[in-house]
Every structure is written in C-alpha cells, then in structure tokens.
C-alpha cells in the first residue's frame, strides 16, 4: 500500500471553506470574463471540495505521480469549479484564475484541457468521461496500482448512449476502482431533465447495469465524505454516487434556473452582491 502523498483532511470546516472558495472564484472568474457556465459549476462545489480535500490521493507538486487517483470532469463545462479547486490544491498559482476565458490560448478555456496541471483528460463533448475513466481503471489494474478513478458526469449528460456502453463494460470488467459521481441537479441545457428525456428511476438504472449505487445529498459534506470512504460499495463492482444537487447553488438568482446554465453576472450585479456574499474585488491591480 502506497502512502497517500496528499494528506486527506477530515476536517469538515476545511472542506467547507474550500467549497465556499470554489463558489466565490467561479462567480468572480465568470464575471470578469463575461462568459462561462456558472450554474453547472456551482452545483459541483462540495463534490470537488470533498474529493480533493478529503478523499483523493495526489501530489500537486508532481501531478503525474503514477500512484495518484485520477479525476475526470466528464461534464467539462463545469470547469470553473475545477479550476478553482485545482488552484486551491496547489497545482498552479491562484493568479492564473484571472486568465479564464480572457487571454488567447489560455490554459483555462471554457472546457478543461490537459495542458493545465491537474487536468487528466480533455473534455467538453459530453459522454466521454466514463469510458476514459474505465481505460484508466484498467491501466491501474494492469500496473497493479491501487489508484482509483473518479468521474463526474452531469445528469442530462447521461442521455448520451456512450455512458451506458461504458457502464455496461466497466461492470463486466469488475472495475471496482472506478467511481462515477452524477451531479444530479435535475436541469440540463434547455429544461429539466424529466421534461426532456426522463432519467428516473436513475439509481435502478445503474443498479441494473451492475454498479453499486448510493444516492446522497451532493451539498452535504459529511455525507459525501462518508460515502466516498465506503467505495467500492460492493466488492467487484464499480460505484455510482448519485449526488442530489441544486444547479446554481449558492447564488440565489441562479439557483434552479434553466437560463443560468450559460449565463454570468454583470459587473454591476457583482458589485451589488459583493458585500453580502463577501466576494473579492472583481479586479485586483
């Protein structure tokens, strides 16, 4: 057993601070750039904070450390949250966040790219992450590593058939080092998932595909932490965590609103919310 290089913290307050920081960073970065998928990033804050602060093993100073756990943001459009979390975890300087969608050829574009330290795969086209994760999980098995692979998908994203092809294959290969977290925020681009193409009963679907399944509150840090500690839920089966979340969580005007899929605050709105939400200066010179 390799010792974790990143010392996982079980300090709930530390994790909560990281999640708050994610929210504030997402709001600030997207307002500065005048673009970004804000709603989809805000539902991810606790999931990412728990994974990076309390669960995953990695070495930010050595991002390619072979024994690390892998993380794939299959819903790549949620990258604002990932960028903030990776900077908090020490993969790059915090000042780089200011480049989000505002500098030509930035390492922080509208979907994550592997050129940014800490990003494990190029995503942005939905429905790719589970298969990518399965490949990494297979490689870990071949190499005899106990690395685990965490993949976050959207819920609407699960309408892509490729996810279910990979889900079936991963179960067949008994990849219990593969964990999929579904950001179940009930909304997709154009409407609620259940108004577009019904996903429920979602937990049953995963179970019937041969996965161990837990349904949790995706904003409850204690619950997320204790859930991730129990993976694999069933020995020999990949694990699916359906995390119930709120799209736009933490930004009142955006919560649960379809139009906030791809919308950002105006600088004026930002100023108005700054004190109440204790946000940073929009631009620090």
């Amino acid at each position: 057993m390799v010792l974790p290089v990143y010392k996982a913290s079980e300090n709930i307050d530390t994790i909560r601070e990281a999640a708050d920081r994610i929210r504030k960073d997402c709001i600030r970065m997207s307002t500065r750039a005048g673009t970004g998928h804000l709603g989809p990033a805000l539902s991810l804050a606790e999931i990412l904070a728990v994974l990076y602060k309390g669960v995953m093993r990695y070495d930010a100073q050595n991002p390619k450390w072979p024994e690390r756990d892998r993380f794939i943001l299959s819903k790549g459009h949620g990258c604002l949250a990932l960028y903030s979390m990776l900077s908090q975890a020490g993969f790059f300087e915090r000042s780089l966040l200011d480049e989000f969608c505002s500098v030509y050829d930035t390492m922080l574009p509208g979907h994550p790219e592997i050129k940014l330290p800490g990003v494990e795969a190029n995503t942005g086209s939905l429905g790719h992450g589970i298969a990518l994760g399965m490949g990494m999980a297979l490689a870990a098995r071949i190499d005899g590593r106990d690395s685990r692979v965490f993949v976050v998908t959207g819920d609407g994203e699960l309408q892509e058939g490729s996810n279910w092809e990979a889900a079936m294959a991963a179960a067949h290969h008994r990849l219990d080092n593969l964990i999929v977290i579904v950001d179940r925020n009930k909304l997709q681009l154009g409407d609620f998932t259940e108004n577009i193409s019904q996903l429920e009963p979602l937990a049953d679907k995963w179970r019937s595909f041969g996965w161990g399944v837990r349904v949790v509150d995706g904003h409850n840090i204690e619950e997320l932490l204790s859930t991730f500690k129990q993976v694999p839920f069933v020995c020999g089966k990949p694990s699916a965590v359906i995390a119930s979340t709120i799209k736009g969580k933490g930004l009142a005007i955006a919560e649960n609103k379809v139009e906030w899929h791809y919308k950002v605050l105006t600088p004026q709105q930002y100023e108005e919310l700054k004190n109440e939400m204790s946000l940073e200066e929009l631009c620090h010179e």
């Binding site: 673009t35 574009p109 086209s125 609407g156 994203e157 997709q188 154009g190 193409s197």
Partner: protein, 313 residues
C-alpha cells in the same frame, strides 16, 4: 458600408417558421437545446421532438421520420452533429439520400472561448468525405434566410453551417437570389480571384477593398455552396484570372480550399492557388477576433497575404 447586423442562427429560425407554415411535413428533432429552432417548437409542438443529449439518436430518429415521408430538421453544435454522429449521418441518411436537413451551428470561430471541443473547423471535411450531401455555408444572415428556404425546395440531404448567436454585419451587397450550387460574384477585378465561404466572405470583401487601394483588383466570389461546387463559374473565371485564393473559417483540408484545389488540379492546372484557413491544427480558446488574427484571416492579414502571393508568384 451597410452596418445592419443579424445572426445567421436567428435568420435560420425565422425562415424555418415560415417554411413550417407552408409545408406540414417539416418536423424538428432536437438534442436538448431546441432554442435553435426559434419559435418553431412553440408554433408546431406536434411536429417538434426532443431526444435529449443524444446526437446519434437525433440523427437516427430523423432518418426514420424521413423514411416515413417527413422532412426532418436537426441541429446541434456542428462537431456533435458531424463527428459525433457521422456514422448515423453516413449510413442512415446519406446512403439512401434521405431528405434530412442537418444544421450545424457555432461553426468556424464562433464558439470562441469554448475551445477545441466546440470550435468547428473540420466539420465540412467530415461531411464532404460522405457522398450525397449538399454542403452550404452562408455568408451572412440574409443569405442564411434564403438558403433555409432553398434547402426545403431541394430534395435530399443537406448540411448547412451556421454560426453563433452573435449578431454579425450583413454583407454590403445588393439583394441577390440564393441558389444551391451557384457561386455569387460580389466584386470584380482582374488580378486575383478570391473564393470565400461563410464567415470568411465579409473579411474577404474588406481585404479586396484594401487591395484595391493599393492598385490590385480582386474578383470576390461568395461560394456559399461547397457541394455541389459551381465548377462552371470557376472555369469561366480562371480562364482569365490566374491567381486564385480560397478563404474559409475551416481547416484547409477537406473544405472549400480542398474542393477548389481538387477541381482546378484536374480541370485547369494552369493557375496558382493559395488556400487560406486553418492549417492542420485545432482551434484554441480566444475571442473570434483573436482567432481570426491568429490564423491570419482578419481583413488586414488577408490583404497582406494576398498581396504577397501576387508579388511572389
């Protein structure tokens, strides 16, 4: 210059609603976002379907509808419509020449900061590799409207490229009719022939003005249909003009530049050709203007590249 502005996407949606009233067989199939159809979904809910985020299924369903006499329209970000679903496009639609209208949006540099998953710079190449599908890349919103009307009068599969939601200036040209397979001469001059399509036409015209001010005279053709290519027009123009430049917001492999090069190599090799566009690389994050500059496709870069081409050869 006439600085009226409009997006190709909104023009398409308006024309689609008009056509929807005229032809009850027109149906739309969406993969999540139905906003690209504008008011069509509200006006004709019984003829509008959403299959969820599932582009391959969207194409398959459209093919089934077409096999049953309907005229389906499908839309998505161009890359997900073409690359993601190209097998469905090829087998389900193209092999039987089904009457399906494929509308790829956010092409060229218009998805800007979204990066290379969304920047559609090879979509025409994917579709051009598949036989049977007409390919249209309208130059501006006015042409997108007319092209939308035209694709419904045309029987068979069509791939039409649109750009984003951003309003773009309309071309400073008098109204002309749009016909599938016909290029349009927008400016005349004997020194160089600039053949452009889609979002590249506007800057090509501006580049021609710059050249004009330096005493070089360009003929500018809006080649809105990439397939079938207006070979007759190319033959006619290249009988007198020997310097040809193609301009596209697309990879120079597989798009307009390729189509023109292939035709001229076999039919009129007695010319010099320069293909301008994206050369064997992916797009990256940047504003549309930054990307155009980076790839040398803004009007100024175009002007100087054409000038150099005329001087060097």
């Amino acid at each position: 210059m006439n600085e009226q502005k409009k997006s190709t996407r909104s023009s398409f949606a308006e024309a689609l609603v008009e056509m929807g009233y005229k032809n009850k067989n027109i149906v739309t199939v969406a993969a999540d976002s139905a906003s690209r159809y504008g008011d069509f979904v509200k006006k004709f809910p019984e003829r509008s379907f959403n299959v969820g985020i599932a582009e391959q299924t969207m194409i398959g369903v459209a093919a089934g509808l077409a096999l049953s006499g309907k005229i389906p329209v499908v839309t998505s970000y161009a890359n997900f419509l073409t690359f993601r679903a190209i097998e469905q496009v090829r087998v389900d639609i193209a092999t039987s020449g089904l009457n399906v209208k494929l509308i790829g949006t956010d092409t060229g540099f218009s998805s800007a900061w979204l990066g290379f998953t969304h920047l559609a710079l090879e979509d025409m190449a994917a579709v051009r590799a598949v036989p049977n599908i007409a390919i249209i890349d309208p130059a501006d919103a006015a042409e997108a409207y007319k092209a939308t009307e035209a694709i419904f009068k045309y029987e068979g599969p069509v791939y039409m490229r649109l750009r984003g939601r951003k309003e773009e200036p309309l071309l400073p040209v008098a109204e002309k009719s749009f016909e599938i397979g016909k290029g349009q001469i927008l400016a005349e001059g004997g020194d160089v022939l600039i053949v452009a399509c889609g979002g590249a036409v506007y800057d090509s015209l501006k580049a021609a003005e710059i050249l004009q001010s330096k005493g070089m005279h360009a003929t500018v053709v809006n080649m809105a249909t990439i397939r079938p290519l207006d070979e007759e027009l190319l033959m006619k123009l290249t009988s007198s003009i020997k310097h040809i430049v193609t301009v596209e917001h697309h990879n120079i492999t597989g798009g307009l530049g390729s189509a023109v090069a292939e035709f001229l190599a076999e039919n009129n090799p007695d010319v010099r050709l320069m293909r301008l566009g994206v050369k064997n690389r992916f797009g990256t994050a940047g504003s549309e203007d930054m990307l155009k500059k980076e790839f040398g496709l803004d009007s100024e870069s175009l002007g100087s590249r054409v000038e150099r081409f005329l001087k060097d050869y």
